[in-house]
Amino acid sequence: MLTLIRKYFYGDYGEIENGAPPAPPSREWPLWEVFIRSKQGLDHKHVGSLHATDAAMAIENARDVYTRRMEGVSIWVVESRHIHASNPDEAEALYDPANDKIYRHPTFYQLPDELKYM
């Protein structure tokens, strides 16, 4: 089993890359993912993340960070730890089987050009 996320330390220009001293125990504000609806009628789209202590603050922060230029009319936030993702290692098993089901696509069917409204 591969560990997908590992933590690394910093190295810079020609530096011997020993890394920084370990960070003190984390009192970091939780991380939130932000989704913005750019205008009525469109889906909320993932735009990035930010830190906040609760959902209300996350929405306010998202407003200040991600809608400074009228980019949105609605905001969703969800704490990052609550996002579940499909495993990229299983990508082939999950998504490749759809490849040969071309009959799901309208272009699969050969119909006379004269046929209208279909």
Binding site: W29, L50, H51, A52, T53, A56, M57, E60, N61, D64, V65, R68
Partner: protein, 279 residues
């Protein structure tokens, strides 16, 4: 007898309006100045951005009020306009910038509260909370003013003020009900700022006239404000407050704390060093 003296009230009304606009604008400008001092120094990136947004709102509102005053002044003969504003350097043209930069501390009409130093995050939050609550109730009244320009600016600004009030209230609650240290700090901020809160509700004559309000309206404003403060303080587990007889005042008459001089020295130095240059 010249033509102008035939409309006796006109001058007085204009004088009143200019003074009131400068009062509103000066409050905003100095608030904006103080908040902008935080830019790049906030406790966490997200809140640095949030506070800078608020600073931008303050500067934006200041510009609206100065521009309105400048428009009125530009429409009258220059000599008369200059007589209405206490410039200490005569501007080539009266603009938002000359109003902001070519008046000295004695001509500034902002409340003393806004010019006090930022102190720590607690003091800044409490100051924004006090000021925004005051502005929230005041602008509700100004929206109804027969001066459509003033009413329009108030209407536009109140949306911003509402957000500032919400944001700063939340911080007051968090700090009051956070750690022992944060509670001590907000209590200390309270001690520092409270003597300056009363001035918000002692209207100058020009304010009452321009805002078309009786003194009783400011009394109501004060009651509403105190109620709001105590409501938030209760949520913040902070002691309820009441007004005592004495409070600091003088800002509206141009008698300021020592801090304003330093603010202006910084803010005005370029336009004064290079008079009449374009930027």
């Amino acid at each position: 007898m010249n033509a102008e003296s035939m409309i006796p009230n006109h001058n007085a009304v204009t004088d009143t309006t200019i003074n009131a606009m400068l009062q509103l604008a000066d409050d905003n400008l100095i608030m904006g100045h103080r908040c902008s001092e935080w830019c790049g120094h906030g406790p966490i990136l997200e809140q640095d951005i949030a506070l800078t947004n608020i600073a931008l709102d303050f500067v934006g509102q200041a510009r609206n009020f100065y521009q309105y005053a400048a428009t009125i002044l530009q429409q009258m003969p220059n000599e008369k306009a200059l007589a209405l504003v206490d410039f200490d350097m005569v501007p080539e043209q009266i603009t938002e910038d000359s109003l902001a930069c070519l008046r000295d501390a004695g001509a500034f009409k902002n409340h003393l509260l806004v010019e006090l130093p930022n102190g720590d995050w607690a003091q800044t939050m409490l100051k924004i909370f006090f000021f925004s609550a005051y502005r929230f109730y005041l602008f509700q009244l100004l929206q109804k003013n027969t001066d459509t320009q003033l009413a329009g600016i108030a209407e536009k600004s109140i949306k911003e003020v509402q957000y500032h009030l919400k944001w700063s209230s939340e911080w007051v609650i968090r700090l009051g009900d956070g750690t022992d240290e944060s509670k001590n700090r907000i209590l200390k901020a309270m001690d520092t700022l409270w003597p300056y809160a009363g001035e918000l509700f002692g209207p100058a004559k020009y304010e009452l006239e321009c805002y078309q309000l009786e003194s009783i309206a400011f009394e109501t404003l004060r009651v509403n404000w105190l109620e709001k403060v105590n409501q938030i303080f209760e949520m913040a587990t902070l002691p309820a407050q009441s007004f005592t007889q004495w409070h600091q005042s003088g800002g509206k008459q141009g008698i300021h704390t020592e801090y304003l001089g330093y603010i202006l020295a910084e803010m005005q130095f370029l336009p004064r060093t290079f008079p009449n240059a374009t930027w």
